[in-house]
Symmetry: C2
């Protein structure tokens, strides 16, 4: 048992050669060591995909939707399809290795491996987390930043990989640094033609009257696994749910805005581009309780 | 002596802590091993920068311009400034380790390292290369693909990192796969507002009458080190050189188009979006001889 654990997959994709034909599906190794070749395309080209799966009281949340999105991201990057049974087994082994704690996450990474080698790299890393309480209750300060892409770039230019969860997150990281420079915590990206897209590591969710809405499927954004669960939450409470193409003015006019993601869960936006907003503490707390106890 | 060599830097940035306070500036290690933590932000977030330096007959080419661009990319990503003396020393040691060969390259990689650890990851990997003869003489087939970004996104939205050579190259790789699906070899990216930008791993260079031109400084593209040398080449032959904002129609109307880069050098475009183009074999051969023998 430990605060963190790492499993290296021997054969992350059934269609590709294993690293060692006699080895088991995965091996638990010391997270403090060196595990990856300096020539791995995951590092030299940011080529690869990931998922981050929340673990509540030792139970991975929304595991199957994460695995499905992992497979869909692999297809977008033309990686050999991940062997989801092997991944599920490795994830559960990593979770079992962690000391009991209220919150943890497991990150899965799949890359093509070293160019020409034919053996993809795959690993699952789990660690305890804490410290999201303030973001979930008091809320976060957000700035709107241009993402450069048109809202429909995912459809017109699939090679821009807008709907795939790739390792190439340098822009997402730089956007968060820009937010901090502006005295904020996080970002909502706008398309170059002026529509609300997503956060660098989160989905935008808004409440408008009796509607819970998120920027539409088909935009240049990721399908949110947490947002999908919060639609179920809303529907049980009589909200209608759906997709909406929102301008910044329409966003500002919404009753509530949250950035939702697997690990931080629902973080209410308490300031948008420097303008304070009221936070519905009770509704947000209900959302976060729902997320913490959701089933797979 | 070997076909490839790898140096891990102990202290890639003078401002950051070394990996081992008692170790020398770098260590030559077996390129076949595992060198990088699975938690390195270079792999988990594609956060980091690189350069690829061509080596001709054992001599690194344009080493200083590459080191300057490396430092400039580091600044764009707010990485601690690379210790260029340590990098130069490591690069030369890697080159000295390689078996004599007409062509090789050294790739340098700098990442923030493992989050919270404070010790950046840096390495220089060198390997022999060959097989570019056909691209340099017969030429390459190219398709035009949307890069999604406006031509001026580098200026208006610096967090998009358009001018930095980051590890987040998943889109560049996906674009080349799209080109191959279309029966071509490589890509010229267009801005979303219809201007010629760059190739996924190269700079566009065109000849129009007595002018040698490249898409302008200030666009959402990288400064090309090879293109800069080819401007010097052109000027010695009486060409005027400069920057041009080109539409696809203006590109097609140019006398010659090349994609130029450190390792493949000048590759003439022999087909653009399925339309054959004449290649000036003699002028291209002169360019490539010039690049192979250029000084630092």
């Amino acid at each position: 048992m430990a605060r963190s654990a790492l499993a290296l997959l021997n054969r992350p994709s059934a269609a590709a050669a294993p690293h060692d034909p006699d080895a088991p599906a995965f091996a638990l190794v010391d997270p403090a060591g060196a595990h990856i070749s300096a020539l791995d395309l995951g590092i030299t080209r940011g080529e690869g995909i990931f998922e981050t799966i929340s673990v509540a009281e030792g139970r991975p949340l929304a595991l199957e939707p994460h695995l499905r999105r992992f497979a869909s991201s692999a297809a977008a990057l033309e990686l050999p399809a991940p062997d989801l049974d092997a991944w599920r087994e490795a994830i559960l082994a990593v979770v079992a290795e962690l000391d009991p704690s209220p919150e943890a996450y497991v990150k899965t990474v799949l890359t093509p491996g070293v160019e020409g080698d034919g053996r993809p790299t795959g690993y699952a890393y789990g660690t305890q987390v804490s410290g999201f309480e303030e973001a979930r209750t008091t809320g976060i300060r957000v700035v709107l930043l241009d993402r450069g892409l048109r809202h429909d770039a995912g459809k017109t230019s699939p090679w821009l990989l807008a709907g795939a969860k790739t390792l190439s997150y340098a822009v997402n990281r730089a956007a968060v640094r820009e937010a901090k420079r502006r005295g904020a915590d996080d970002v909502i990206f706008l398309s170059s033609d002026g529509y609300v897209l997503e956060g660098p590591t989160s989905t935008v969710l808004v409440r408008r009257g009796r509607e819970l809405l998120t920027p539409g499927v088909g935009l240049a954004i990721l399908d949110g696994t947490t947002q999908a669960d919060l639609f179920a939450f809303g529907e049980r409470r009589g909200y209608s749910t759906g997709f909406a193409l929102l301008t910044p003015d329409e966003l500002v006019a919404c009753d509530d805005i949250w950035l939702v993601s697997s690990v931080r869960n629902a973080a209410p936006v308490r300031e948008l581009d420097g303008v304070a907003r009221a936070v519905d503490a009770e509704f947000t707390a209900e959302m976060n309780r729902f997320l913490h106890t959701r089933s797979e």
